[in-house]
Symmetry: C2
Subunit: 327 residues, 2 copies
């Protein structure tokens, strides 16, 4: 990137649960002091209330209304309904007000600053643990372009997706990812698959200082249970909850604590407008940033402080801005 | 490689079970018509009988007698006994009679010709599914060199291995593998991790024509049971047994069939001298190579033929050459 280029992280929420993930993702990016803007795409199935809550954390919340659009995506969707969410995700290529973007799945958590990703080219991504000659589409660098978007839609119409999702489609479209340039293969730390089945524990311990993004793969997500799974990733599960609750104490005491007497399960977080700090506001649940510490350390300090604290103040309420429909 | 360069595949057997794996690996390499030589390193715990049986399949069987050597490896082994097998494997770098080699773990099965690997540079390998910025050390291209061997031993003494095995050691030693050159990151097809926990089934189906080497990771190996695990890799499990039994009918009918009435389990193969064809001899258990078919197809044809056959001839006995101690 060069001075003057507009850069942004973008994620996607298609359900209220994933909206909770998106919210925590945004907070994690703020915590590591990103200089990029934060954008959340939401499908039109997301309620207005949830959209407005997301708008208090993101710089922009954009409704992707595929079915009511006039573009080719609608026709493709009608012919291949299984690609619905996939096509919604592809709309990130239409964010041409940005010069360079990084897509992050809403079940990802950023623990160290990753703004250096904006120096990479399209398409840069991490190898998928299931088939490492494919990239995992949970984190990728891309350059918004209407031409690319149209080509992707055309490709989806003709080829579909070998795994029924965006990962299969994007890997077939960017089929030279694993052979074109070493610079496009991101270190695993940018998308550490937090799933017990994929864990190579000695490597995780050896390279733990390289962990920048944790991606909660699989069907069990942090928002499904407050009780972390056993293993190396439990600390990140706890971090997720720490961030979720950090500005959401009213919600936390209202809906969560009643279910955690044995710390085994909680209801899926349902976002309410209360307790969310507007972007740029101070976040009273967190220790102020120390110059000597960054990323994970800061969040870990906060987690430690929270665990040792017996009481916390409810977070203040702020005004929120309305979301808008872009596509 | 250039004309006149000597090339070889090398594997390692440290137990009789892994010797069975090495034997099948050698047969699989012959089946795909490799032009390279086949070398088997064995630790000095392997019996003379097993060594001689391996010598009927490999061009060379070399005993790596670390404890009786006078080199630095012995001292390192005494200080770090957990690195014993690792150090045995490292001895492949001392095979300087070869210009270029490919190491294959004995629990690997080759289903397509991979001689093109000899055009790659040290160190070329496939990403490990557990941490894809590390390579899996089950398949790697290397250049034998006493200097490199000595550096590896020195490194082992000073640094140990982060996972207690050769993979941790080699990844720390060749620490620029994931960043130096795209040509050193081999396509996943050269080392497909056959473990249910790592399977990305849609990708396996999409790229199944790219599968060249199947690596039976995990604690359950083909030699532990004739009954294949469920899933995409069962066909390769059956192929392994097909190859194991192809020239081993006397052994098969003697030791295996009595345990397979319910096809659930068999004893671990124990190699006997009977029924092994010397290298270069015709292999009566196999259909002759068809010009129109190669690799997997040939083996699959054989498997099909074997499954539909009600009886098979016991394979002939051949003289075998003695193994020698090199290191």
């Amino acid at each position: 990137m060069t001075i003057g280029e507009r850069i942004g992280f973008v994620t996607l929420a298609t359900t209220d649960s994933y909206a909770a993930g998106a919210l925590v993702l945004a907070r994690s990016l703020r915590q590591v002091n990103t200089v990029a803007e934060l954008v959340c795409l939401v499908s039109n199935s997301i309620s207005e209330g949830t959209r407005t809550r997301l708008a208090s954390e993101f710089d922009d919340v954009i409704v992707v209304d595929v079915l009511n659009s006039n573009d080719d995506a609608m026709l493709t969707l009608l012919k291949r309904p299984e690609l619905g969410v996939t096509l919604t995700k592809l709309h990130c290529w239409k964010l041409t007000q940005y010069n360079k973007m990084v897509f992050l799945d809403a079940d990802a958590l950023v623990v160290k600053n990753i703004d250096d990703l904006f120096q990479r080219e399209e398409i840069s991504a991490v190898a998928d643990c299931g088939w490492p000659s494919c990239f995992n589409s949970g984190v990728f660098v891309f350059k918004p372009s209407v031409d690319t978007f149209n080509e992707l839609i055309e490709f989806a119409k003709n080829e579909g997706s070998f795994d029924g999702g965006d990962q299969g489609l994007l890997n077939d479209f960017f089929s030279d990812w694993s052979t074109k340039s070493i610079d496009r293969i991101l270190p695993f730390g940018y998308n550490v698959h937090a799933a017990a089945t994929y864990a190579y524990v000695p490597a995780f311990r050896r390279f733990k200082d390289q962990v920048k993004v944790v991606h909660f793969l699989g069907s069990t997500k942090p928002w499904t249970s407050k009780n972390p799974p056993q293993g190396e990733f439990s600390q990140f599960w706890q971090l997720w909850w720490s961030l979720y609750e950090s500005n959401n104490q009213a919600k936390s005491s209202e809906n969560v604590s009643q279910n955690t007497s044995n710390n085994n399960s909680v209801e899926t977080p349902v976002m309410t407008p209360s307790g969310f700090a507007a972007v740029g506001q101070s976040q009273p649940g967190f220790t102020p940033t120390s110059p000597a510490k960054a990323g994970f350390d800061i969040i870990q300090d906060h987690l430690n402080a929270q665990l040792s604290s017996e009481a916390s103040e409810p977070a203040p309420k702020f005004d929120i801005k309305p979301s808008k429909v872009m596509f």
